[in-house]
């Protein structure tokens, strides 16, 4: 998985609680991305980062925030989790913004 780890790998949480997912890379790539994968939708971009402290919104950013204080770490936060955010979350990295390499994913269940 191209030097990418995601934590936790599985999480069950209750509606209304905050949740933070972590993506860590050892490749020193500039770009990092968060996607969510749901049946029938493929993968959809939530947020991405093009450098430390530089982020931009994706297609489905409502209800999510991100932070990147170090090149190797990209955090995804659900401020107040809802059942519609039950999904599998994937982090991806890219050196120049084209070839994106994905991590192993985090399965999040919001009850």
């Amino acid at each position: 998985d191209a030097g990418i780890t995601q934590s936790p790998r599985h999480k069950v949480t209750e509606t209304g609680t905050p949740v933070t997912l972590r993506c860590h890379q050892t490749e020193n790539h500039r770009y990092m991305y968060w996607y969510r994968q749901d049946p029938g939708h493929g993968l959809r971009l939530i947020h991405y980062s093009y450098g430390v402290k530089d982020t931009d919104k994706g297609e489905v950013s409502d209800g999510y925030s991100v932070s990147r204080s170090k090149t190797e770490d990209f955090l995804l936060t659900l401020e107040s989790a809802t059942s519609s955010q039950t999904s599998v979350y994937f982090c991806a990295i890219s050196e120049v913004g084209y070839e994106q390499y994905f991590g192993p994913g985090t399965r999040l269940t919001v009850t």
């Binding site: 029938g40 939708h41 991405y48 994937f90 913004g97 084209y98 994106q100 390499y101 994905f102």
Partner: protein, 111 residues
């Protein structure tokens, strides 16, 4: 709004057959078209990608055909094997970032 439409949703072929997965797009600004392969419980893996200035690209048993005028591209898998059974996603982007994915095709290769 699905900017990249992928078909079929699922596909079953015999070993040695040539499965073909098709994708269509609307945004003529897209300039990068990758295909990803995903096995159950794993993150998507980049398989092959094409730019709109070429009509075909081959890498091993995988071929992308690209028709710019029709705004369509397809993946062909030559001499398919049971190990190719996976979900395949097409995607498109403008200058690499903000990948837009198709909904995916579940391929099963029967031995």
């Amino acid at each position: 709004q699905q900017q990249v439409k992928q078909s079929p949703q699922s596909l079953i072929v015999q070993k040695g057959g040539i499965p073909i997965i098709n994708c269509a797009y609307e945004n003529t600004a897209f300039d990068y078209f990758p295909w990803y392969q995903q096995f159950p419980g794993k993150g998507p893996a980049l398989l092959i990608a094409i730019r709109p200035d070429v009509s075909e690209k081959k890498e091993g048993r995988f071929t992308i055909s690209f028709n710019k005028s029709a705004k369509q591209f397809s993946l062909h898998i030559m001499d398919s094997q049971p190990g190719d059974s996976a979900t395949y996603f097409c995607a498109a982007s403008i200058q690499g970032n903000k990948l837009v994915f198709g909904a995916g095709t579940i391929l099963r290769v029967k031995s």
